[in-house]
């Protein structure tokens, strides 16, 4: 419901909004942007792989991360990708968007993000965002996942799909243990109108993947309601142990 209001607005006003030019690196603010070579190496690991199951950054030859090999990852998604490593300046950037009310900053990275997504993800019928509970949405004023999805929609021309909704406010994921996270999410998502999604393949977008539990919960509900395939996509996730040289 709230999403629809947002979407309406996005269609009206957002196109020109994403066309802004940014010259300096969005992360370090020093070298040439939108993301400088330095930061690309440091946070986006162009040579590394992504865990098929949870999107985490892995060694190039590995298909799954060690967590997912131990069956701790999501099971229902066809494949998952995280763009960058959730740390340092990239983490700051994402936190700026969420906690400092600066969704506009996403415009700075629209180009490298959509290039990367085009290179890795399969073409689908539409893009969908992980919904936020209306209470929290009313407080923050925007859903960052929704803004990312709309950005990709404008850049790549894929339709934005609606129909997935969040029912009750769940406690923030970070406060919970892994097991509790899964329980916490059970039943949080619904598809009120089955007809709209039958047979479609989708990218399911979130800002950050921590355990993959949120994506898993959404994917389960989507698949139960007729969606044919769900691919997960996020701006950031963790990295396989040993992949990132320990800093400082």
């Amino acid at each position: 419901m709230v999403m629809a209001a947002l979407r309406f607005h996005l269609k009206e006003g957002l196109h020109s909004f994403w066309l802004e030019k940014e010259l300096l690196c969005a992360l370090c603010g020093k070298k040439t942007g939108p993301i400088c070579l330095n930061c690309e190496e440091k946070y986006f690991f162009p040579e590394a792989g992504r865990c098929f199951s949870c999107g985490k950054i892995t060694f190039p030859e590995a298909k799954y991360c060690s967590d997912c090999l131990a069956n701790k990852g999501p099971q229902s998604l066809a494949r998952v990708w995280a763009w960058g490593y959730y740390s340092g300046a990239w983490k700051e950037f994402i936190r700026d968007i969420k906690f400092k009310s600066r969704p506009r900053r996403l415009a700075e990275i629209r180009q490298p993000l959509s290039n990367w997504v085009l290179r890795h993800l399969p073409v689908v019928d539409g893009i969908m965002a992980v919904p936020m509970h209306s209470d929290r949405l009313a407080e923050r004023g925007f859903n960052q996942a929704e803004v990312i999805a709309s950005l990709l929609h404008w850049e790549l021309g894929l339709p934005l799909l609606q129909g997935l909704e969040r029912q009750a406010a769940t406690r923030p994921q970070v406060e919970l243990s892994r097991r509790d996270r899964l329980l916490n999410l059970k039943g949080a998502f619904i598809v009120p109108d089955i007809r709209r999604l039958t047979g479609l393949s989708v990218w399911l977008v979130d800002d950050v993947i921590t355990t993959g539990a949120t994506l898993e919960a959404c994917a389960q509900v989507l698949l139960e309601n007729g969606v044919s395939k769900v691919f997960g996509l996020s701006l950031a996730a963790g990295a396989e142990k040993g992949l990132v040289p320990s800093r400082e």
Binding site: A5, H9, F17, K100, S101, A138, E139, G141, F142, V147
Partner: protein
């Protein structure tokens, strides 16, 4: 923070964050609509339609319930996506989830809250910090704030509000804001005051309307050191302005090093004794750290709130406050008397944000005294035009004239540091007299010049510094203690630093960053102490610019004026 459209029997309609607190307060039937929204969204949805029936000062609606219902339905048509019809059933305040209002009634911490919150303008995050400090929790503090709102002692306002067609940050007054697509339309975030924490149109500010606690008291005040007769004269003029006139603003123009802050102390003492609140504000932290011990020495028993820099807000009590100009954005109609020091100094001049903050922090009857060593011509003109008082203190306490700069023709090339013979001779002379400061226009000049000078004058101790130098603090301390013969820096070397027996050289005095007033400020570092009332000042450049001539004339004029008032022993 969520607000709810709340209807209170016989009272009317409000936007309340806690309908059950309203019910507890009024002891009247209270209902609310259960969809919580940000205050700005509620305003946006409802004000347009009902404003003619709304009393803005009380937030109350003069309308019957059926009338209101009809209006709401009409209004909500356009917002069906955000607020589907089903979410608009009035609910009894008792159904409110969470602890009952009675539990928050009035434990001792709420009295502590009441005295800390006065005169403040804070975000809900900042209220949370206050809660921790007084040993309470955010939920209680927010409810006590709501009680103050119901009593008419405070109000909730959106952090950024549409004023006509234009968004304006309610904390700092900024109108150039970062716009983004939010629910139900564009929203905005303010970047200007972000160093104080996030502020956006989704944010809410609690604005207290009671001002600081004002109570008459005997103020232990002892002037140390005593004022000179020149200072005393001006001091009584300021006191007269503060205590006996209807005028709102005055400008105190004093020579560099004339002791203008002390001149204001008797007026501050008078104000405190008469139950008024007083703020000393300065744009930079170093000025605050310089003034703090002087204030404490002169008001030994007074509780002084010192709010400087970006340190996390610490809530203190007392109606004598010393703060950086940034901090004043956290006050609302709190002060009866404001002394704004160094009004010409970076970053105050031309800064709309601090201008706004100052007006907001001033009580409706309050007065401002601007203190400056170098008013701009425009500033003086404006002052005159506004019919403001101008008080002048042109002489230093030691009754010697200000040292007058000499101009020296020499072209310095930063790419190829070097001095000609004439320049070298002058520099040796300066160093022979005392510690010599060399001011350069750009940070990048500092390093190469220091290197060159170290080679050339290997028996002198030489150093240089600029504002982002990590060793800056230590170097400044060493400089203060006289460990260097020669020190290279940019013009923003801390103004609070007084170095006895200092000589001043300004290199490339014709560079555009050196305006007349910055030349005067740099020259003003020489001859400040009684032991060394004189000093050598060299303005070195290829051309004699208007700024150079202007600065020299200005200083001469100050001296003539001081002499004409009989404030100088020698001229």
């Amino acid at each position: 923070m969520h607000f709810f459209l709340t209807m209170i029997e016989q009272i009317g309609l409000r936007f309340s964050p806690f309908p059950e607190v309203d019910k507890f307060f009024y002891k009247k039937e209270t209902e609310y609509l259960p969809t919580g929204l940000s205050l700005s969204l509620l305003e946006k949805i409802f004000y347009k339609n009902i404003s003619e029936n709304l009393d803005y000062s009380t937030g109350l609606l003069k309308m019957s319930k059926p009338e209101l219902q009809a209006k709401l339905e009409e209004r909500l048509k356009g917002w069906g996506d955000l607020l589907p019809a089903g979410s608009w059933h009035w609910q009894q305040a008792e159904t409110w989830p969470g602890r009952a209002a009675s539990e928050y009634a009035s434990p001792p911490e709420s009295r502590e809250f009441d005295s800390c919150i006065r005169g403040r303008q804070l975000t809900d995050k900042e209220l949370g910090r206050l809660a921790v400090q007084i040993g309470s929790d955010l939920q209680s503090v927010l409810r006590w704030a709501q009680v103050r709102v119901l009593k008419g002692w405070g109000e909730w306002i959106p952090g950024i509000r549409l004023e006509g067609q234009k968004w304006r940050c309610q904390r700092c007054g900024e109108t150039e804001l970062e716009e983004w697509p939010g629910i139900g339309g564009n929203m905005v975030t303010c970047r200007s005051c972000s160093s104080l924490g996030v502020n956006s149109s989704q944010q809410v500010l609690y604005r207290d309307k009671q001002g600081l606690e004002r109570k008459s008291e005997t103020v232990s005040f002892c002037l140390q050191p005593a004022l000179t007769s020149a200072q005393e004269e001006v001091s009584s003029q300021v006191l007269e302005f503060v205590g006996q006139t209807e005028e709102k603003e005055a400008l105190l123009w004093a020579a560099c090093g004339a002791g203008k802050t002390e001149v204001c102390f008797p007026s501050a003492a008078w104000a405190l004794e008469n139950g008024k609140s007083v703020l000393f504000a300065a744009p930079r932290q170093d000025v605050i750290t310089d003034v703090a011990p002087r204030l404490q020495r002169n008001f030994p028993e007074q509780q002084i709130q010192i709010l400087a820099g970006m340190i996390p807000l610490k809530y203190q009590k007392g109606n004598l406050v010393l703060a950086t100009t940034h901090q004043i954005l956290r006050f609302y109609q709190a002060f009866d008397l404001i002394f704004l020091d160094e009004m010409d100094a970076f970053p105050y001049q031309g800064n709309r944000m601090l201008e706004w903050g100052l007006q907001q922090a001033l009580s409706p009857e309050g007065k401002i005294v601007y203190l400056t060593a170098t008013p701009s011509e425009e500033g003086l003109r404006k002052n005159k035009h506004a019919g403001r008082n101008l008080f002048r203190l042109p002489a230093r306490h030691h009754r010697y004239p200000l040292p007058v700069p000499q101009w020296l023709k020499f072209t310095y090339r930063p790419q190829k540091p070097g001095l000609n013979r004439k320049m070298e001779k002058q520099l040796r002379e300066a160093v022979a007299r005392g510690i010599t400061l060399i001011f350069v226009p750009q940070i990048s000049w500092v390093g190469p010049l220091v290197q060159y000078l170290e080679l050339k004058f290997s028996n002198w101790r030489i150093a240089g510094s600029y504002s982002s130098d990590p060793d800056r603090k230590q170097k400044i301390e060493d400089l203060r203690q006289g460990k260097y013969s020669l020190f290279v820096c940019t013009s923003i070397l801390e103004r609070g630093v007084t170095i006895p027996n200092v000589q001043v050289v300004v290199l490339a005095a014709d560079h555009p960053v050196f305006e007349k007033r910055s030349l005067i400020q740099m020259a003003g570092r020489a001859g400040r102490t009684k032991e060394y009332p004189d000093g050598l000042i060299l303005l070195v450049s290829a051309r004699k610019t208007a700024a150079v001539t202007g600065a020299v004339n200005w200083i001469r004029e100050q001296n003539y004026y001081a002499a004409s008032l009989g404030l100088l022993d020698l001229l």
